[in-house]
């Protein structure tokens, strides 16, 4: 019944997911359902398995056990084609800013004129209008991350995964990225994002998945998890205590 409901609401589900290395479980998520409108933020200390889970959800890593289910079916190329991911360190092609965007639009076989229009729209969206011809490699950290997000959005994803996109950025650059994420979310793109930043979780999250030691220790509405956490691990993390 839950799978059926999930199918109708276009949700992401994780069932018995395990990734083990050298006999140690790096990720062990028995049951997780992301069925809200989002943004969903994965929160937790280093080594909690947040990035690993994100990669599993995007199909970049195949789990040793268990599966990811999207829209009621096991995650496959048809699903991952409707997803996009932005990494902690933006990986930009050694081309101009606009060529980075053109690369993904060409793959969608969009006509040249339509591509030019779309690139202009995207550059405006990311505040990079005056950088179009500049080498993408010469952008600042914040600009590079904005371009990475724009490129991901250019694929027209239903779900956008972001792995700590602002971890190396100053507050001003972080604010610009957060606005882009909020606008994408408002347009209906499901956001699933990893962060260490409790303040950021408070600003962006609709629901929060709290992780520790490869496990999901708590999942619920952001306000509930942040203000009245149920698990001891969540309480300690949110209180700024050491969590291993």
């Amino acid at each position: 019944m839950r799978d059926l409901l999930c199918d109708m609401t276009k949700c992401l589900q994780v069932r018995g997911l395990q990734i083990r290395r050298n006999g140690r479980a790096l990720l062990d998520v028995a049951d997780l359902t992301l069925d809200g409108p989002g943004p969903t933020l994965l929160l937790g200390p280093n080594g909690a398995g947040k990035s690993l889970l994100l990669r599993c959800l995007h199909g970049l890593i195949s789990p040793d056990q268990g599966r990811v289910i999207q829209d009621g079916a096991p995650l496959g190329p048809v699903h991952t084609a409707r997803q996009a991911m932005v990494f902690q360190q933006p990986v930009l092609l050694r081309r101009s800013v606009s060529a980075n965007l053109d690369f993904v639009l060409r793959r969608q076989k969009i006509a040249r004129d339509a591509r030019k229009t779309r690139i202009a729209e995207l550059l405006t969206e990311g505040g990079l209008e005056d950088k179009a011809r500049q080498s993408a490699r010469s952008l600042s950290g914040g600009e590079a991350q904005r371009l990475a997000i724009l490129r991901a959005l250019a694929t027209g994803p239903e779900t956008l995964f972001l792995d700590e996109p602002t971890s190396a950025l100053d507050p001003s650059a972080t604010q610009m990225i957060e606005r882009m994420i909020q606008r994408a979310s408002t347009r209906g793109v499901r956001i699933v994002m990893v962060t260490h930043d409790i303040g950021q979780a408070r600003r962006l999250a609709a629901d929060i998945v709290m992780m520790q030691g490869g496990h999901v220790v708590e999942h619920g509405p952001a306000k509930q998890v942040l203000d009245a956490p149920e698990s001891e691990a969540s309480r300690r993390y949110l209180a700024g205590g050491l969590v291993t």
């Binding site: 970049l60 190329p77 991911m85 990986v91 930009l92 050694r94 081309r95 490699r137 991901a152 694929t155």
Partner: protein, 237 residues
């Protein structure tokens, strides 16, 4: 000592007075080597890139073989190409022996492993960096090859120039398959060898100076290309 000095001044005169025979030899050398490098690039770059991104049994052994081929003795390559192109050889009917085409073939055999091996190294490093992002964008391993080749273009110029350096300085293989025929297959290196043995040091010295000049220019270009590629990488890091 005086004789040597006069040979030097004669060599300088040959270069700067535009001796037609000398410059014809230089031009043929450049033509043969440039063609050889271009053909090697067409073969070696896709092969190197495919080896960098593909995963299949025996890949490691192929890489070892390719690296070993970089040090293949030129005279042995010349001998093998000679056997292929000689009248009784499988390609004898093409009558290519002792033509510039035969020299290009020999140089292609020598240069392709260099271009392929260097391309593999460059592309493998870039593929490591791009791998997750390209997969996330739905680019398959095979489709990633042209993307990686284009994005590694600066570093690959270094591979091509290294191949050109090997080709232009090559003597053993081209003398076997080219035969060092005057006005037909005589290139800089084979002419230097011949003219030195004949005692015509002026022409040998003039060609030697030009060959060194080309080597210096090629090395300067390699350094510039490497520096530019490095800067591109550093900007990203």
């Amino acid at each position: 000592m005086q004789g040597l000095a006069s040979e030097f001044s004669l060599a300088v005169a040959l270069i700067f007075e535009g001796d037609s025979e000398l410059w014809a030899i230089v031009l043929l050398s450049l033509k043969v080597s440039v063609f050889a490098v271009l053909i090697s690039a067409l073969i070696g770059m896709p092969v190197g890139a495919a080896l960098a991104v593909a995963r299949f049994p025996g890949r490691r052994s192929l890489i070892v073989l390719m690296n070993a081929l970089m040090g293949f003795p030129p005279v042995v390559v010349g001998l093998l190409v000679y056997l292929m192109l000689s009248r009784s050889g499988p390609l004898g009917v093409l009558e290519l022996l002792y033509t510039p085409t035969a020299m290009i073939i020999a140089q292609v055999v020598l240069v392709t492993p260099i271009v392929a091996a260097l391309t593999r190294q460059v592309i493998e490093m870039l593929a490591e960096e791009y791998s997750e992002q390209l997969r996330s964008l739905g680019v398959s391993r095979l489709a990633s090859v042209p993307v990686l080749l284009w994005d590694a273009r600066l570093a690959l110029v270094t591979a091509l120039l290294a191949g050109f350096g090997r080709a232009i300085a090559e003597v053993g293989a081209v003398i076997i398959v080219g035969g060092n025929i005057n006005h037909v297959t005589r290139v800089m290196t084979t002419t230097i060898a011949l003219e030195t043995s004949k005692g015509n040091l002026a022409l040998a010295l003039a060609l030697g100076a030009i060959l060194i000049g080309i080597a210096v220019v090629v090395n300067a270009m390699v350094s510039a290309a490497s520096l530019r590629a490095e800067q591109e990488g550093l900007r990203h890091a």
